[in-house]
């Protein structure tokens, strides 16, 4: 724990927008009996802020393998280019409530992304922190190590606003029901997995 805290001091921090935060948690809320995985996108930051997470693309629920993720990433990169955004990494929520571990394939994907793009973020859901009304994600930068991917803790902060209330309003408003992930889209191509019409319920 102390080692993680020391790491956080040197890693800079990551900011996450209300939109990205709420969408990722709605994905987890909708698929509460399965693990969830998605891609985080945004901009590389400056002045101590290493990354600004602006949006997310929900990918899968349950187990995943490379082909689905690779195809989705190809499409996401094209969509990001239109908005001057880049793929920053992934978010993941485990199946069990107290599980904060990182699946092996996700670590490998993160390391590959870091090799390609210079940095790779992984946000892992922490349900204890979510229940306490704090930041629901533990942040890690993933790097390729000698014996496999290496995770280094990083602080994740809200970019702005009262996200807890927005999240609660979205859940009450049924926003989770209309959120679609890439896996849902492959089952029914008429569903929009980019969630272009998604809106936050501010009040």
């Amino acid at each position: 724990e102390r080692k993680r805290e020391r790491e956080k001091e040197t890693m800079g921090e990551v900011q996450i927008s209300t939109l990205a935060y709420v969408k990722a948690l709605l994905h987890a809320y909708k698929r509460s009996t399965a693990s969830v995985t998605g891609v985080v996108v945004g901009k590389l930051g400056k002045d101590g802020c290493r990354m600004e997470v602006e949006d997310i693309f929900p990918l899968t629920h349950g187990s995943f393998l490379y082909p689905e993720v690779e195809m989705a990433l190809s499409i996401i990169r094209l969509l990001c280019a239109k908005k001057q955004q880049v793929v920053l990494g992934f978010y993941h929520g485990n199946e069990a409530r107290s599980d904060k571990s990182i699946p092996a394939l996700l670590g490998t994907l993160g390391a590959q992304l870091e090799e390609k793009c210079g940095s790779s973020l992984l946000l892992v859901m922490n349900n204890a922190q979510l229940a306490a009304g704090q930041m629901a994600f533990d942040g890690y930068f993933i790097e390729k190590g000698k014996d496999g991917p290496v995770e280094k803790s990083v602080t994740v902060r809200f970019a702005s606003g009262d996200t807890s209330q927005v999240l609660a309003n979205c859940i009450k408003g049924g926003a989770a029901d209309v959120l679609v992930d890439y896996s849902d889209h492959l089952d029914d191509l008429t569903l929009d997995w980019t969630n272009a019409s998604f809106q936050l319920h501010a009040s």
Binding site: S35, A96, P103, A104, L189
Partner: protein, 237 residues
């Protein structure tokens, strides 16, 4: 159902009713173990399951509940070991093989996941989704030739049903094989890629034209240099 959404009132009301009606039933005892798991009382749950299995070692439900308990606790290695032990006795349980495959995938042990998926395929020979999943596992392992074969097989048993995962997987596998110049005839990769691409485009034209441009551009990015495709380098509209 109450446990799935964890509504404590539904769980306690209905469990009390069942316990009142069937106080000495083993099914009631197993239900109690499940309730304890939902409440996070894993030690008490383990005691009940151990007692049931001591009395009846072949109780399938109790054995599977023990695996679920270990998964709930995040003891994934022990859950894998327990499910392996179960499958040594009950090797025809297709659902258990699939569950074990997913656990191995989570642990990044794709070779072991492939072994489990092979048993699922033996039991379910006409399930295109399982053949696609097997091909995905092969692709993840880096065996693109076998992945391509199984994507093709999955598509051949689809019988006209949309099988978009296999189509994308086929294009991806053909693309990698073409780029790495694997020991297969080039024309086969090109033809299969183009067939897969055309079929995907046809599906998107029917389902959602707004996504078509992005998907076509993404598929184009999978193509190696146009020069290697010979005459078939024209871009699709």
């Amino acid at each position: 159902a109450g446990l799935d959404i964890y509504d404590a009132r539904i769980v306690s009301t209905h469990f009390d009713a069942i316990k009142g009606r069937f106080p000495n039933s083993k099914r009631t005892l197993k239900l109690k173990a499940t309730v304890l798991e939902g409440q996070g009382h894993f030690e008490n749950e383990e005691k009940i399951l151990k007692a049931i299995l001591k009395d009846e070692p072949t109780d399938v439900v109790a054995r599977k509940r023990r695996v679920a308990m270990l998964k709930s606790q995040g003891r994934h290695d022990q859950a894998i070991a327990a499910l392996n032990t179960y499958l040594r006795c009950f090797m025809a349980d297709e659902e258990a093989w699939l569950d074990l495959a997913n656990m191995y995938i989570r642990a990044g042990l794709i070779e072991q996941a492939v072994f489990c998926l092979e048993d699922v395929l033996l039991a379910d020979r006409y399930n295109m989704h399982m053949f696609t999943k097997y091909a995905d596992a092969m692709y993840t392992q880096g065996d693109y030739i076998t992945a391509k074969k199984y994507y093709v097989y999955s598509l051949s048993i689809s019988s006209g049903v949309r099988n978009i995962r296999a189509l994308f997987g086929l294009c991806q596998a053909c693309s990698v094989l073409e780029i790495t110049k694997a020991a297969v005839p080039q024309t086969q990769n090109q033809r299969l890629f183009e067939w897969g691409e055309r079929t995907i485009i046809r599906h998107y034209l029917t389902a959602d034209k707004t996504k078509l441009d992005t998907v076509v551009t993404a598929l184009m990015s999978l193509r190696p240099d146009d020069a290697t495709l010979g005459n078939s380098s024209k871009k699709k509209k």
